[in-house]
């Protein structure tokens, strides 16, 4: 039916994209903004993933360590996406870059150093990208929730400051709320593993001939790595973000 795999893939992408557009057309009264946002996001995502596929194909012929540069590029791209979700937070790009870099970077380094994730392009790039992408999502949720909490509690925060509380003490409860809520997806993914969903990496490993039990164990490794990277990134961000929304004299700068 299809002359080659590429043509088949293109048709499958079109069907998937049209299905998503049909759903947002159906739901347009409830979420009118999605009608503008989703098609652009889909097109962008498609172009990006095709570009990554092409880069991956090219890298396969080069030295294995080049995969590190791909992941570093992904961290920059992830930080740029997080910045858009945290517009009112000054220096959000650098904040996200540091948080994702430290969170995903150090956890991946531990996994590589211990041999859990082999330094092979075919493994490191897909697994690393999963870790970075999920860390990015957690960062977006964390900063978005924290910004929302601060903006809706300006009075309480300034009351605490007026009593002599430090900036850190004045926003502690809002940092806790943002930290907890941003990690809910990562925790739920681990909790529901195997019961609600069988993630793609496990399905891929089984399809490519790995033992289902080893594939299951490795899936747990990947999700735990994602959780560790996400939590560490939030931890780092929680310290950086406070400094960015207060002046050196503990004056709240983030206001609606």
């Amino acid at each position: 039916m299809f002359p080659n795999q590429l043509a088949r893939g293109a048709v499958e992408c079109l069907i998937a994209a049209l299905t998503a557009i049909a759903v947002i057309v159906l739901a347009r009264r409830r979420a009118p903004d999605l009608l503008k946002e989703v098609p652009t996001a889909q097109l962008r995502g498609l172009l990006q993933i095709v570009a990554v596929g092409a880069i991956l194909a090219a890298l396969l012929h080069g030295p294995q360590w080049t995969s590190i540069f791909v992941l570093v590029g992904m961290v920059f791209a992830a930080a740029s996406i997080v910045r858009k979700r945290a517009k009112q937070i000054p220096g959000a790009f650098v904040l996200a870059l540091i948080a994702i870099g430290v969170g995903a970077g150090s956890i991946l380094a531990i996994m590589i150093a211990t041999g859990v994730i082999p330094l092979r392009i075919l493994v490191l790039v897909p697994v690393g990208s999963m870790v970075i992408a999920n860390t990015m999502n957690t960062q977006s949720l964390f900063l978005d929730r924290f910004r929302g909490e601060v903006l809706s509690h300006v009075g309480e925060i300034e009351s605490a400051l007026a009593l002599g509380a430090s900036a850190e003490a004045a926003v502690t409860r809002y940092l806790h709320a943002a930290f907890r809520s941003s990690l809910i997806p990562a925790v739920d993914n681990i909790r529901s593993l195997g019961i609600v969903w069988i993630p793609g990496i496990m399905a891929g490993m089984v399809l490519s001939g790995a033992s289902p039990l080893y594939a299951a164990l490795y899936q747990f490794v990947v999700l735990s790595t994602i959780f560790s990277a996400s939590a560490l990134a939030c931890f780092v961000a929680s310290y950086l973000v406070t400094k960015r929304i207060f002046s050196v004299h503990d004056q709240l700068l983030l206001r609606s």
């Binding site: 009351s159 605490a160 007026a162 009593l163 002599g164 002046s247 004056q251 709240l252």
Partner: protein, 200 residues
């Protein structure tokens, strides 16, 4: 007690916020005990210059936790007995373990005043503390503040949009217009006069 009056948007609240250093002056400074306040640690300054806002903004937890919050920030623990005594002074005896969500507007504002006083400030800034209250609560809070301020001999700056309240509460009155002081003096001098003083 200095009452600060003036039209909306004239900078009355900003003036108080600068004194508590919630906002930074774009130029000029504030002198506290003859010393440029920018040389003082912010936390120490805010302990000495307490502030009560238009709304109470109580923290989640108990009333006792709200009152203990300020002293805790300065490494001072306040005993349950001291909290109970403070609550008696503001007419909220037995409220220590209550949830702030169960309080009326007037009660919440009295807790906010107690919370500010728990830091034992030398100066108390009051930013329209009764404007969000109903008539009955307003008079109660006014009477309470008057007695607390006199009893503790506090220096107090009270921002109000009501000339009547300024006349009742203020020993002196300062009028602000468009960010400038246009008059200062006794209530009769400022509120009774028709000609404005030159801009300061």
């Amino acid at each position: 007690m200095l009452a600060i009056v003036g039209p909306s948007g004239t900078g009355k609240s900003t003036l108080l916020r600068m004194m508590n250093r919630l906002d930074e002056p774009t130029h000029g400074t504030v002198y506290f005990h003859g010393e440029d306040y920018r040389g003082l640690p912010t936390s120490t300054l805010r302990r000495s210059i307490g502030m009560v806002m238009q709304r109470a903004y109580l923290f989640p937890g108990t009333i006792a936790e709200n009152i203990a919050f300020g002293p805790q920030q300065h490494g001072i623990s306040i005993t349950p007995k001291q909290i109970a005594d403070l609550l008696v002074q503001v007419g909220l005896e037995g409220y220590a373990q209550r949830d702030p969500l169960t309080l009326s507007g007037g009660e919440a504002q009295r807790v906010a005043i107690t919370r500010a006083l728990a830091n034992q400030p030398e100066v108390l800034l009051l930013d329209e503390p009764t404007s969000a209250l109903d008539e009955a609560s307003r008079s109660e809070v006014e009477r309470l503040l008057e007695s607390l301020i006199r009893e503790r001999r506090l220096t107090c700056l009270w921002v109000t949009h009501s000339p009547e309240q300024a006349r009742t509460m203020g020993d002196r009155v300062l009028r602000l217009e468009a960010g400038h002081m246009t008059a200062i003096g006794t209530p009769d001098q400022v509120l009774g006069q028709t000609a404005k003083a030159p801009s300061a």
